[in-house]
């Protein structure tokens, strides 16, 4: 039984762990904080063992809980607001990709999150709205503004479309 639970957890980590880590890293800009948030997310999963209707529901649950954990961390006065890339492996990124990443992380948090979910995770606007508990219009506006900010900063850097 214990082995079964371990296997389930391992499966879920392999399925969602890297994705959650990416999102948390983008939201928190710190490897250590991102790892903490991912770990807390799986702790919540272990603790509550929620029942999921389907795989999409499961994925949405993990994303939502990870988002909450990131918010919890950011609310804490002990959260050091910083970009701490110590220990993050950036060896595979090209210089251009690093530039894009740096500009993405300069965006305000809510734009980063929406852009990440839309472009990286491939969620639709309606799904992001449901996931984050925001109105669709709000997500659209945030996506638009985030995109504009990113476009402007990338143009400044000379990164063309």
């Amino acid at each position: 039984m214990e082995n079964e639970a371990e296997r389930e957890l391992a499966e879920r980590y392999d399925r969602y762990g890297p994705m959650l880590y990416r999102m948390c890293l983008v939201m928190l800009c710190s490897r250590q904080d991102a790892e903490d948030a991912v770990q807390e997310t799986f702790c919540a999963y272990l603790k509550h063992r929620p029942r999921f209707e389907n795989e999409e529901h499961e994925k949405a649950w993990f994303l939502r809980v990870a988002t909450n954990k990131c918010h919890d961390l950011r609310r804490s006065p002990f959260w050091k607001r910083r970009a701490d890339w110590t220990g993050v492996d950036l060896s595979e990124e090209t210089p251009e990709e690093l530039g894009v990443l740096e500009e993405l992380l300069r965006l305000p948090g809510k734009y980063r999150q929406v852009i990440h979910l839309y472009y990286i995770e491939g969620y639709k606007i309606a799904e992001i709205a449901e996931l984050l508990g925001r109105r669709e219009n709000t997500v659209k506006v945030q996506l638009h503004r985030g995109r504009e900010l990113l476009r402007l900063s990338l143009e400044e850097r000379g990164v063309q479309p």
């Binding site: 880590y21 807390e40 509550h48 990709e97 504009e148």
Partner: protein
């Protein structure tokens, strides 16, 4: 050549966690990093099981029905366990709102209130907020007109009386009340194997003297009886961390952190406390709510909400309150979240009533012409109309106006992190606009009010606002200059007539409806949020209450939230003795060219970050402290920073 999107996907897609993270997760371990051990956050900060139970039950309760107690007979003196069931008729509330609130209280056998909390469950934001109120707080009893402490109210007015008093005191609407006895609470805690909290030395001493235990200070697991002592003891400490309210809050958080869904389900099913509910949630439902974030605060949160502290004839402490400040605190707490939450916030319909009745009528006509309507109570439609001409139309006092403008639908949202720095506050966020230009005929009534008599011509705008040259010429009666003026009305850069008119309309609406306490900004068609409050000079910073929203630079309205001051001298000391390294850099919360300077210790760990507007003096802030420097200190510091 790769597109920006491909670069973005490539960059983020290659971020991979360390392999050790997988091991940590699979081993089920908690966070390895130790965070500073301040009670409210690290410990358990923790309040009462009833808060937990209410939080779990609340969604179920409201989905099915809330049975309100009717009248003071809803509770009988000496009833050992009081439920919310009343003997009178029941009122069904099929509430689908994502935000619901309830009162939770713990009483002793004499009917004294030991703990009381307003609990808000926000299913949309997936957060449970518990505001524990010190039962020593004094409220005015509406029926007798006398001032009584909360701790007496259950005995005198029953659950209904307590609920009404808390509603009045905090200025919130509660959907019902649940009251537990201290015995039930203790049993529940014991059944869960006790509860872990952090004891201060004097707390351990007091619990030991009451219950005969031999507890040491520090992290301890308390039995139900000990937890009651912890909850009840009144050492006169008014701190919301180490005082009575802080203990309630700490216990609630602790119980939340330790809650087990299966155990809770068993407890709820076997308990008679909730027998009035037609359905109880199963472990799945409980687990769902337990996956929400939990936030707890004890009120009064600071001394702004306290007029004075006194004692009654028996020597018991009484806290006389400043209700306005207290309501501000609860309002801030219940709305405080990073996401958009609306539901319980409502905005009044547009009414500016500032300029003239004619202008008001034109404004209303523009809203009607544009056809925008509020989608919820947290929205409002605000017009921004410019009158280009206003001429007598006939012999009977009619007036013809040529106007252009638009109606803009705004939603009230609670925002953080906008425009660089951490910002928290209510914000009007633009959702939708419709532009129109029109020639209107208005007539004046006997009472002086203006009425829209006819819409003679209308053209609707797009982007750019009005490109229909023939339509504009017709609207302006062949006046080419006027047509050109209307066409240039929307320059789109935030400096045009539209921007000024919209700004005036919003400010007028904001002032007329007294929205200052909970709306700080608006986000119109332009990128940056516009602060509604005036700029604050550096000299005034010290006198501002914590949490005040500030704009640091007139040319670029950057927002910031000021955080609680824990030790205002520490950073200045660090700077003075020069034990920190200084480096400049960027961070995700800075943009618009404001320099950010990091202070690190010798090992490179970041201690603080600072942001400067850079001109007339210096202002710095970081995650936990606020301070300011004089110009000379700033010059010295700046030189050190630049040479580092």
């Amino acid at each position: 050549m790769k597109t920006r999107e491909e670069l973005l996907r490539g960059a983020v897609g290659k971020l991979k966690p360390e392999s050790s993270l997988r091991d940590r997760v699979l081993s089920g371990g908690r966070r390895s990093r130790v965070r500073p051990a301040v009670r409210r956050f690290s410990l358990a900060g923790a309040a009462c099981l009833c808060v937990l139970a209410v939080a779990i039950l609340l969604p179920e309760l409201l989905r099915v029905a809330v049975v309100r107690p009717q009248g003071p007979d809803a509770q009988a003196a000496g009833t050992p366990s009081l439920s919310i069931a009343g003997s009178g008729e029941s009122e069904s509330m099929d509430v689908e709102s994502p935000v619901s609130s309830l009162l939770a209280a713990v009483i002793n056998g004499s009917g004294d209130v030991l703990a009381v909390s307003a609990v808000q469950v926000d299913r949309q934001e997936q957060v449970v907020r518990s505001a524990c109120v010190d039962p020593s707080c004094v409220v005015e009893d509406a029926s007798s007109g006398t001032a009584v402490p909360l701790l007496d109210l259950f005995r005198e007015g029953g659950a209904q009386g307590l609920e009404t008093a808390v509603e009045e005191l905090l200025g919130v609407e509660l959907d019902g009340a649940l009251v537990f006895t201290n015995g039930d609470l203790a049993s529940c805690i014991d059944a869960g194997g006790g509860v872990e909290v952090f004891l201060l030395p004097q707390e351990a001493e007091m619990i030991n003297s009451y219950s005969g235990s031999s507890l040491q200070s520090g992290k301890q697991r308390l039995t139900g009886e000990e937890a009651l002592c912890f909850l009840q003891m009144d050492d006169g400490d008014m701190s919301n961390l180490t005082g009575r309210g802080g203990r309630q809050s700490a216990l609630a958080e602790s119980l939340w952190m330790q809650a087990d869904p299966d155990l809770l389900e068993t407890l709820l099913l076997e308990s008679t406390l909730f027998s009035s509910l037609p359905e109880l949630p199963d472990a799945g439902g409980i687990a769902e709510v337990l996956s929400f974030s939990f936030e707890s605060v004890s009120l009064p949160e600071n001394w702004d909400a306290v007029d004075s502290v006194t004692t009654d004839e028996n020597g018991a402490r009484l806290i006389l309150l400043a209700p306005t400040a207290l309501r501000e605190q609860i309002r801030s707490f219940f709305r405080d979240d990073g996401g958009e939450q609306a539901a319980s916030d409502s905005l009044p319909p547009y009414y500016a009533g500032g300029t003239s009745t004619l202008y008001d009528t034109v404004n209303q006509a523009m809203i009607d012409l544009c056809g925008l309507v509020e989608q919820s109570e947290s929205e409002t439609v605000i017009p921004a109309v410019h009158l280009f001409t206003e001429e007598p139309a006939d012999q009977e006092g009619g007036v013809e106006v040529v106007c252009a403008g638009y109606a803009a639908r705004f939603a009230l949202q609670w925002e953080t992190g906008v425009c660089g720095f951490q910002m928290e506050g209510g914000q009007l966020v633009l959702q939708e606009t419709q532009a129109a230009a029109a020639r209107l005929l208005l007539t004046q009534q006997e009472d002086g009010a203006w009425e829209l008599a006819a819409v003679e011509e209308t053209i609707y705008g797009g982007d750019p606002a009005f490109s229909d040259a023939d339509g504009l010429l017709g609207l302006s009666g062949g006046d080419e200059v006027l047509a050109a003026e209307i066409a240039a009305w929307d320059g789109g850069d935030g400096t045009d007539i539209l921007a000024q008119t919209l700004d005036e309309s919003i400010r007028s609406y904001w002032e007329q409806n007294d929205l200052e306490p909970f709306v700080s900004w608006y986000l119109g068609p332009y990128l940056l949020p516009i602060p509604l409050r005036d700029e604050v000079s550096f000299e005034e910073l010290w006198d501002l209450p914590e949490g005040t929203q500030l704009s640091l630079s007139p040319s670029c309205p950057i927002s910031s939230a000021l955080f609680p001051v824990e030790n205002t001298t520490e950073l200045l000391d660090l700077i003075r003795v020069g034990t920190v390294n200084v480096s400049e850099g960027w961070m995700p919360y800075s943009d618009s060219g404001v320099p950010v300077i990091f202070l690190t210790d010798e090992s490179g760990t970041l201690l603080h970050w600072l942001a400067f507007p850079g001109e007339d003096g210096a202002f710095w802030l970081d995650g936990v402290r606020l301070c300011q420097m004089d110009g000379a200190s700033w010059e010295l510091f700046r030189a050190a920073a630049l040479s580092a």
